[in-house]
């Protein structure tokens, strides 16, 4: 809802701009165009298409409300094919040739990093979705990243896990670290290594496996032979499923099993693994627990779920889409309150403001990351059968850490039946 005063301010700003040059006035008649390269095919497409649906839902809503600054919003999207080589070309075309007003990132670290030089040269505002520490090297001041990693991403993914471990009645002494040879999991393992050493845990197994591994039995048996008290896994969807299965098939037991496992947030893997997930302790970003009832989230998820099947994306949509939607909420408020599309002014506003979004309050800090990290350490509890509905209910993915969002008690050991 735009208040009358804001509307007045907007109109005033628009008039000033129009006075500055006729071309700007002309541009004001057309829609506001938001450009992005997004993974719609290839390995990252599952995330990319889900994010895109969230953007589309936002665009339809904002247009129904009368648009931004009185102009309709239009998304200009290209498929980066999950191939980063296409990304620099896509972004320079979006900016130079298509003349979009705002650019946002594609899904995940690699395409975001590949777009950075073009974005930085044009001094564009760059909102980014789920890129890990991509701005650490560039230090670009108009970059803002939506995943709640905080300034020191790598230790955050395992911080909660290890704090919970050290609070166990029977204090663990050893840990096994295992993960896929790819960007996220390597980073998560690095952080886990640091956390483990900080807590004085002995690392008895520390190995990676190639991303296309199919059989995890040998890995799990070797870990089992090392008999660790804790097992920390950094993995992507296919291997998250493979590891959880193999852990059960090999009869592996430990005080805690889980870690930085991508995929356990998706309905597909949740329903397939079902009861095997009980007592798995993993990271998440949003779960439908009573401590996380942010305004607007339920309404958004309803709209998303209505359309997920037709779009062929994750039917639950609690991992990426709410953050993509929150990204647009931030953009919407910035554009409305700044009253223009000036990249510098928008970046200044976003840097200084705390935003209320469907995923909670967001304020940006160092290098455009969340000022305060909010990675959740969750645990699957009371999963029965393979119904998808239960994962949309409270009490199934219980938040154990950080304490301010805690919604249940830590259950141990693993597996649940033992």
């Amino acid at each position: 809802m735009i208040s009358r005063r804001k509307l007045l301010a907007t109109t005033a700003a628009a008039t000033t701009l129009a006075a500055m040059g006729g071309t700007v006035a002309l541009a004001q008649d057309g829609p506001i165009r938001i450009g992005m390269g997004m993974a719609m095919s290839g390995g990252l497409a599952a995330g990319g298409k889900a994010a895109l649906l969230a953007y589309q839902i936002w665009a339809e809503e904002v247009n129904a409300r009368g648009g931004l600054l009185g102009r309709q919003v239009e998304l200009v999207t290209y498929d980066d094919q999950s191939n980063p080589s296409t990304v620099p070309g896509i972004y320079s075309k979006l900016i130079d040739v298509d003349g979009v007003d705002i650019v946002i990132s594609g899904y995940a670290t690699v395409p975001t990093a590949a777009a950075m030089p073009v974005i930085m040269q044009k001094r564009k505002l760059f909102l980014s979705l789920f890129a890990l520490a991509a701005n650490d090297q560039f230090n670009y001041d108009r970059y803002f990243q939506l995943q709640p990693n905080g300034p020191n991403a790598k230790v955050e993914f395992s911080k909660g896990y290890f704090e919970l471990a050290m609070a166990l009645p029977e204090k663990p002494k050893t840990v096994a670290l295992v993960g896929a040879d790819a960007e996220f999991s390597i980073l998560a393992l690095e952080g886990a290594r640091e956390n483990a050493e900080m807590h004085g845990l002995e690392i008895v197994y520390d190995q990676t496996y190639p991303p296309n591994t199919i059989d995890f039995a040998s890995i799990v048996r070797t870990i089992k032979a090392a008999a660790p008290d804790l097992l920390y896994i950094g993995s992507y969807p296919p291997d998250s499923a493979g590891m959880i299965r193999a852990v059960h098939e090999a009869g592996f037991k430990a005080q805690m099993v889980g870690g930085g496992m991508i995929g356990l947030q998706f309905a597909g893997l949740k329903t397939q693994l079902g009861e095997m997930l009980n007592n798995v302790t993993y990271y998440d970003l949003y779960v439908p627990e009573p401590t996380m009832q942010f305004p607007g989230i339920d309404a958004f998820l309803v709209r998303y779920r209505e359309r997920a099947a037709a779009a062929g994306v994750d039917p639950l949509g609690i991992y990426i889409p709410p953050f993509a939607y929150a990204e647009m909420q931030i953009l919407e408020r910035a554009v409305t309150e700044v009253g223009s599309l000036d990249d510098g002014a928008l970046a200044d506003f976003i840097r200084k403001t705390t935003f209320d979004t469907v995923v909670g309050q967001i304020a940006f800090g160092e290098r455009g990351e969340w000022a305060a990290p909010r990675i959740l350490t969750c645990q699957f509890q009371g999963i029965e059968g393979s119904g998808v509905e239960q994962f949309g209910e409270a009490g199934r993915q219980v938040i154990l850490h950080p304490p301010e969002y805690k919604s249940g008690e830590h259950r141990h050991p693993f597996p649940a039946s033992a």
């Binding site: 719609m40 095919s41 290839g42 497409a45 200009v76 999207t77 290209y78 498929d79 980066d80 094919q81 191939n83 980063p84 080589s85 296409t86 990304v87 620099p88 070309g89 896509i90 320079s92 075309k93 900016i95 130079d96 040739v97 670290t109 690699v110 990093a113 590949a114 950075m116 030089p117 073009v118 930085m120 040269q121 991509a134 650490d136 090297q137 560039f138 896929a180 040879d181 790819a182 960007e183 999991s185 390597i186 980073l187 690095e190 990676t208 190639p210 991303p211």
Partner: protein
Amino acid sequence: MSSLSTPYVEDRRGGLPRTLVWLGLAAAIGVVLFTVLGRFNSEYAYLAAYGVLQYVVLATGWNILGGYAGYVNFGAAGFYALGVYGSVFLYKLFPDLPVPVMVLVAAGVGALFGLGMGYLTLRLRGVFFSIGTLALSVILHTVIVNWEFVGGARGAYIIRPEDAPFFSSYAAYLCALMFVLAVIAVAIARTVQHSWLGRGLAAIRDDETAAECSGVASLKLKLAATSLSGAVLAMAGAPFPFFITYVDPATAFSLTVAVNTIAMPVIGGMATWIGPVVGAVLIGSLQQLATVTISSSANLLIVGLLLVVFTSIAPFGIMGLLSRRRTVR
């Protein structure tokens, strides 16, 4: 393919004047290309041209071995990645090293690796050689993934300068560099084709055993071809880290590079140096065009259909199609 086995007409008009003509022609093409690209007044023109020119280098380099000698290298992405990671390695040691120096180093490393691959041909022929090259590429991939210094599986960031001297932007500079590499690659391919080396390789392609019997020093020729080919392929990868600024092994060893590098000479025509150039320019441009005009996953579908259609229309390559029109067999 009998058109392939026609002995090449000896080029006796060689020597310095002819070389100068070719250099002049290359310079003229360069001037025209950059005038046109400059007209667009956009980074995009340079970035798109970079991609196409990169494939000209790759396709031309691959064809020196694959087209002239008939040894099909499935590990082109491995050589490309060698160039990419050569630059990453040098960047980590000397961040201010100019890119052309990195290209030279990459060419050297690529040539050495190519020489190693050449010794495979001692034992392996035909498809067995091809799988051998694929194996080399996989082994190299594993080494890179486990090599922390160049970023390992996590990847490496390269911070490039904001702009380059004498050029309107860094993208223009990279594009110009890639154009020079393309000229060098084509010059090498053309020289090889018209020299004793090219004729020897053609003899090997047609019948290696017969060539050996008639006194062709086949191993020496093959080693020359694998080294040259390897050097050119690696060269193509060297500027890439500065183009993309973030490299991970999956990007450097991508399937798209591996297969495009083979598909483009096949589509253009493998008998002469011009085939790979035509194939790379045509397919590279069309792929680029599809990516930035079709705003959905259907663009990859179009790319796929284009390959299917082109190979179906011209199973001997486009140059084969053209020459066939002229000389009815």
